[in-house]
Amino acid sequence: MIDVKPAPRNVIAAKVPLDQRKTMIEFQDVHKYYGDYHALRGITATIREGEFFSLLGPSGCGKTTLLRTIAGFEGISSGAVLIDGNSMENVPANKRPTNMVFQSYAIFPHLTVAQNVGFGLRRDPRSKAEKDKLVEESLEMVGLKGYGARAAHALSGGQRQRVALARALILKPKVLLLDEPLSALDKKIREQMQVELIKLQREVGITFVLVTHDQEEALVMSDRIAVMFEGEIAQLADPETLYRRPNSRRVADFIGVMNFLPARVLGEGNGHIQLDVPGLGPLDVTEEQASAAPNGGEAAVGFRPETLTLLYDGQTPLDREAPGTIDEVVYYGDMTYYDVKLDGVEKPVRISMRNVFGRPVLDVGTRTRVAWSPGALVLFR
C-alpha cells in the first residue's frame, strides 16, 4: 500500500502543522437559497491561517457563491460564516478583513496602474509619500516595477492580474480571495502564474482561498481542496489524498482520469476485502482503499492511468500482470496514452506511458501485458 502523506507547502505549514494552526475561516452549516434554488446545502468547513485553500468543482456547484459569502457580496440564508473568530453577519463587504482578485480582474479603467493599486489606501493615515512608496513596493512584489504611471487599460491579461493582486495585497488582508484568477490567461502564462502565486503566498503568509474549475490548478497550488458538487462539499482533503483516495466515484471522475472496472465483493475481514474483478482476477485490498460514499449498490475498482504500465518483451511486473490488446493510441510527445482492452473486458482502460528514450510507441492491435498492483486501486461500493 502506498503511504499517503500531504507534503507541507508553505512556511507556516513547515513550522506548524495545519491542524494545530488557528482557524481563519469557519463555515457553520451554511445554506443559501435563490428563491427556490438551493445553491449552498449545509457547508461546514474550517480554513486555517496561512493555508492555500481551493474550492474546486464544475460550474454551478456553488463554489463562487461560497467565496462571495466570505467577501460579503452574497448573504446567506442560514448558518454562519466566521472570519478570525468573528461572525460576519451584517458586516458589509467594505468592512471585512478580506480582499478579492476578481475573475475579470476589475481593474478601474479610468485610473493609472498606481492609482489602481493605491485605491484602497484613501483612508490610510499615512502620508502621501509613504503611500506612494508602498504602492511602488507592491508593484515590485508582483513584478511590475516602474509600471505605476501606465494607463490600466493598456495592460495585458497577465499584467492586469498582477495589478489586481498588488491592489488586494497592499491592504494586508487576513484572507485573499481569488475567483478563477487564471482562467482568462493562456496556458504558458497560467502555469507561470501558478508558481508565482504559490511563492507569493509563501512570502506574505496570508490565507488564500481560490475558486477554480481546473483540477490541475487546484492540485498544483493548494494545501487543501474542497471538491464541491451541487452546493455540497463532496470531499475535503489535501491534493494527494484527493487524487489517490477519492471518496466517491464522482470525485474520482472529476479529478484527473480514472479507469473503472466492475467488481464483485467476495468477502471481508481483518481489515481486508476480497474482490473478483473481470480482467484482473481475484484480488485483495485494504479497508483504507475503500471509499466511504456508496456507489449505488454496484461495486467497482478505480485506478489511475499512470498506475498501469505496458510490459515490453522480457520485462517482468513488480506485482501482477494482465493480458490485453491495444485498442487506441494517442501520442502527446512526452507521453503516449494507450487504450487497452483487457482480455474478458469490453470497455478499454487508459494507460499513460512516458516516452522515455528508446521505448517504441506501440501500434493499435498489438497484444500486450499490463502490469498493475492491487495497492493502487480504489474500491467504490
Binding site: N94, T98, A106, H110, L171
Partner: protein, 299 residues
C-alpha cells in the same frame, strides 16, 4: 479580356461607399453646407434697401458685438440653455441610473420604450400644452382657484404669472429634452463592468464612495454627451421663447429671425447667427476637451 474603365470604377470599394452616402451627402451639401456658406458670406456684406451690397466689411460684427441688446440676449440664451442643461442632466442621471442598475435586464427595453413616448407628440404641441398648463387661466392657476387659494384676502392675491418668464421657458425646454439626456447616460452606465463596483467596496469604500470614485467618473462620457445634446439645440431654440416667452423674452434665434425677416437686414442677421454659432462652438469644444480627459482612461 480587360475590364472597361467604367466597370472598374463601378465595382470599386470607394464607388460603392460613395453610392451609399451620396443621397445624404447631396442633401447635406444642398441644404446645410450651401446655406451655411451663404450666411457666412452675407455676414461680411453690406445691407442695402431690399438688397445686399456685395462689399466685404466687418461693420456687421462690430455692430453686433457693440450692441448691448445682442449681448443681453446672448447672455439670456446662455443662461436659459445652461439652466435647461443642468436641470435635464441632473434629472436624467437618476433615471438612467435606475434603468441601468436597478432594473432586471428583461425589463430594460420596456422602460426605454416608455421613455420615448413623449416623442409621439410633436414638439410644437408639447410647447402649446405647457402654455395651457402655465397660462393666466391655465391648469395650475384654475386648479389653485378651485382649491380656494387665489383671490382677495386669500393665500395668493392674483393668479400667478408663469408664462413669459425665464422659468417657464426652462421648464418647457427641459421637459422636451429629457429623453435625449437619459439615453447617452444610460449607455455609459450600461458599459460599466459591475465587478468594478464590487471591487470598490472590496477595497474598503462604502456604496456612496464607490459611486463617487468609480461609477461617476466612468459615466462622465455619457454625461458630457448628454450636456452637448441638450445644450446645443436649446441655445438656438426659437419656438419656446416665442410661445412661452410671449416674444417678450427673445433668445438669440428670435433675434436672428427678426433681423432676417421683419427688418430685412440679412447681413446683420447673418452676423448674429455666425457670432452665436462661434460662441456655441467654443463652449462645445470645451466640453469635448473635458470628455477627452475621461475617454483617455476608458477602454
Amino acid at each position: 479580356m480587360a475590364q472597361s474603365a467604367w466597370s472598374r470604377i463601378k465595382h470599386s470599394e470607394a464607388a460603392n461607399g460613395l453610392a451609399l452616402v451620396s443621397p445624404t451627402a447631396i442633401y447635406a451639401i444642398l441644404l446645410l453646407a450651401a446655406p451655411l456658406l451663404t450666411i457666412f458670406a452675407f455676414s461680411f456684406f453690406k445691407d442695402g434697401y431690399l438688397t445686399v451690397i456685395r462689399e466685404v466689411t466687418l461693420e456687421n460684427y462690430i455692430a453686433v458685438w457693440s450692441d448691448p441688446i445682442f449681448r443681453s440676449i446672448l447672455l439670456r440664451s446662455l443662461i436659459v440653455a445652461g439652466l435647461v442643461t443642468l436641470a435635464t442632466v441632473a434629472l436624467a442621471f437618476p433615471v438612467a441610473y435606475f434603468l441601468s442598475f436597478k432594473l432586471r435586464p428583461e425589463r430594460k427595453s420596456l422602460w426605454l420604450f416608455l421613455i420615448t413616448i413623449p416623442f409621439w407628440t410633436s414638439y410644437l404641441i408639447r410647447v402649446f400644452l405647457w402654455k395651457v398648463i402655465l397660462g393666466y387661466n391655465g391648469v395650475i392657476n384654475s386648479g389653485l382657484k378651485s382649491l380656494g387659494l387665489i383671490g382677495d384676502g386669500r393665500l395668493i392675491e392674483d393668479p400667478i404669472q408663469m408664462l413669459n418668464t425665464v422659468g417657464a421657458i426652462t421648464v418647457t425646454l427641459a421637459h422636451a429634452y429629457a429623453p435625449f439626456a437619459i439615453l447617452p447616460i444610460f449607455v455609459a452606465l450600461e458599459k460599466i463592468d459591475r465587478s468594478l463596483l464590487e471591487a470598490g467596496q472590496d477595497l474598503g469604500e462604502s456604496k456612496a464612495m464607490t459611486f463617487l470614485r468609480v461609477t461617476l467618473p466612468l459615466a462622465m462620457p455619457g454625461v458630457v454627451a448628454a450636456v452637448l445634446i441638450v445644450f446645443i439645440p436649446t441655445i438656438g431654440d426659437y419656438v419656446t421663447p416665442e410661445l412661452i416667452g410671449g416674444g417678450k423674452l427673445p433668445m438669440v434665434a428670435n433675434m436672428i429671425q427678426a433681423q432676417l425677416l421683419p427688418l430685412d437686414n440679412k447681413p446683420m442677421g447673418s452676423a448674429i447667427a455666425i457670432s452665436a454659432m462661434a460662441v456655441v462652438a467654443l463652449i462645445s469644444l470645451g466640453f469635448v476637451a473635458m470628455n477627452r480627459r475621461y475617454l483617455r482612461g476608458a477602454k
